[in-house]
Amino acid sequence: MLDALMLSRIQFAANISFHILFPTITIAMCWFLVFFKVRHDMTGNPVWMRAYRFWVKVFALSFAIGVVSGITMSFQFGTNWPGFMETVGNIAGPLLGYEVLTAFFLEATFLGIMLFGIKRVPNKVHTLATILVAIGTSLSAFWILALDSWMQTPTGFEMRDGVAYPTDWFAIVFNPSFPYRLIHMLLASGLTASFFIAGISAYRILKGDVKKAPRLTLKVSLIVAAILAPTQALVGDFHGLNTLEHQPAKIAAIEGIWETEKGAPLLLFALPDEETKTNKFAIGIPKLASLILTHELDGELKGLNEFENEHPPVAPVFWSFRVMVGLGLLMLALSWFGSYHMVRKGKMPNWMLKVLVGTTFSGWVATLAGWYVTEIGRQPWLVTGVLRTEDAVTSLPASNVAFSLALYLIVYGFLLVAYIRTVFLMARKAVKEEEFETNEPRPDGNLTNVNQPQDNVEGSAKA
């Protein structure tokens, strides 16, 4: 049945799934840009600047889509989930307010200087603008994850007449799951941006780009990924332990455990069935889930049956989790293998480049899967123990929601195709661009000859 509740949930899921793709790229990509720019300023090597110039264009495009879809998100709370702000507005409001005040204005304003100001401000100010945009995007993640984590593990408030009132802002922001979730998300963004940069750089090389910049960005991004991937596995483990403590029903769904058991197996494959409350075709490694989650072979894990009508839908959580972890392991292997080739040999075989092109957007899939685990895993609660999703939804007629949902789906589908096509088009354009690769910096470090603008004529027919 598609009532206003279901349609609003689909619309929210569609909006946030589309939106999150772009911050996931830009949060970390901006730090890559900071790195390229600072390296250029320190070494005077123009290859860093070329890397910056190409990726700042991709950044700008990703950022623009992130901004406009983010504005849509900010309206969703009021249009589709009025019960959310009525119940927990006293807490969600200031967190969202601080995001706008400290992050949005900072990134939006300095983005102008970062993109268009290099000839108008001293180089140091331009580098500073890049750093401020990077801080802005990360601050934005800080506030939004503080809110999301609070919804998962609410603390620092009291209920009066069905409305939440803040009692301790420090406890609200630094709620129990916040540090894990924030770091997990920042690392996810790092991996997404790394594989994106690696994929497009590999694509340029495959298309015959003989310049130094794509090789450099390929190497840097793979090394970053090789460091982040195992870190992410470790942080993910801590995050899981934290979830077990605060949201055991979510863990039970992730692991597909129906009956409370000791020495629970880690299921590699299964088809969870909510009707019979069993798993079909389960293949598992004995005792491993207990070992990972309780650090004891015979540790006890609570089953879904202890959370009658209070646990999330099992199959989407169970499967999303496996997609996320599987992709994480793939990224770990690829980044280590790739870094080894780039560092030891300075190049890599063609088949490996092709694999990297294929995994350009692997971070997107892993991040989305991760968010489905955490957000679907929170159901049936919108704010754990405080507000159920079904109690927050709008009383609007379903037809209105269906209308807006159709609009969004059309626009988002179109934009996603346009975005991916344009990124690859930009890569092909860059292959053909003259970059005066032989023109190395002069011994005195003076870059005046090599830093001529050669590309990126924004707003002209030549672009």
Binding site: S69, F75, G93, G112, A461
Partner: protein, 334 residues
């Protein structure tokens, strides 16, 4: 309790300020989008026009997020009512904003033969946004009463707001461009100014007629002698601007900034008039700011932050306008 009285007043002031700043800033860049000439020969002028707003549009749009954010934070009850009634126009406005925002970036990066299509998207997105915003303003002024007259007034208001945004956008171009484009901009400012004037007159007549409370407030003797200064000043600004535009551009581009300043003054006056009509109601005729306000402990927390952060925002915004001062040139990433 002082807090419970003053905090909502301060926040409605902050929200009003954000709406006004948004209307001026995003107003001019939406206006530039509306005015884009679509002829094939106009491509260079389109490039310059879009370049004139390139470094600013993103930050301009953030004021809308702040305004809606303040309503969400400070007046959640009103936020629910307003967005309930404006669901469809909000969705349309968001689609318009998406179209405008992405077209700006895609136009320069997509394949050359797609550029014109993205320029059309840019223009269409800008028009859709301003029509939707004007329609929402109309419904708001009517207190969300149902019926055909409300929607008609909404449509009228949509056209009025679109004219007003075009007016400020054209005046922005008079200031930021030169040569033949500037001459076209002068002509656009003159025309859109007259449409905007008619829109202001229409809304000024209809508003007190449909809202008896508004009528009483405006024609309350002896205050009327004082408040009528607002329409009088507004009328003078329109008239003077029309007169001045007949003489632009002048030698050495003197006074090219005056039309934009006058339109800002007109926006300020119209906005004060609306505020004067409805304060302290946050949903006209239904709910005042004290009924809609959220808990003082939340408002204090955000107010302290705002008092520290907003001056910093204003400072770096000013810095950005200073960096990109002067005439718009074609946009270069580097």
């Amino acid at each position: 309790m002082m807090d419970a009285y003053w905090l909502p007043v301060i926040f409605i002031g902050l929200m009003g300020l954000s709406v006004l700043v948004y209307a001026i800033l995003d107003g001019y860049d939406l206006g530039v989008g509306i005015l884009l000439p679509m002829g094939e020969a106009d491509e260079a002028q389109r490039d310059t026009m879009i370049a004139s707003i390139g470094p600013f549009w993103d930050a301009n749009e953030t004021w809308l997020v702040l305004a809606v954010g303040i309503m969400l934070i400070a007046f959640p009850a009103a936020h629910s009512i307003v967005l309930y009634h404006l669901y469809i126009p909000v969705a349309i406005m968001l689609i318009g904003l998406i179209m405008r925002g992405v077209a700006f970036d895609f136009r320069a990066k997509a394949a050359v033969d797609h550029k014109l299509a993205w320029d059309r998207t840019f223009k269409a997105g800008s028009i859709l946004t301003t029509l939707a915003q004007g329609y929402m303003l109309g419904l708001y002024v009517m207190g969300f009463e149902g019926g055909i007259s409300t929607h008609l007034f909404g449509l009228l208001s949509g056209l009025g707001v679109t004219a007003a945004y075009s007016y400020i956008g054209a005046a922005w171009l008079v200031m930021k461009t030169e040569n033949s484009l500037q001459q076209r901009a002068v002509a656009w400012t003159k025309t859109t100014g007259r449409f905007c004037f008619m829109g202001v007159i229409a809304v000024s007549i209809v508003n007190p007629l449909v809202n008896p409370g508004v009528f009483d407030r405006w024609f309350d003797f002896p205050l009327v002698m004082f408040v009528l200064l607002i329409p009088a000043l507004c009328f003078a600004a329109f008239l003077f601007n029309d007169f001045l535009l007949g003489r632009l551009p002048k030698e050495n581009d003197r006074h090219c900034w005056v039309p934009f300043s006058l339109v800002m003054l007109i926006f300020l006056l119209c906005f004060s008039a609306l505020g004067f009509s409805f304060f302290p109601d946050v949903v006209p005729g239904q709910m005042d700011i004290w009924e809609a306000a959220s808990a003082p402990e939340s408002l204090i927390v955000i107010l302290i932050g705002a008092l520290i952060v907003v001056p910093v925002i204003l400072m770096y915004t000013a810095f950005s306008y200073w960096v990109f001062r002067g005439k718009a040139t074609s946009l270069n990433y580097h």
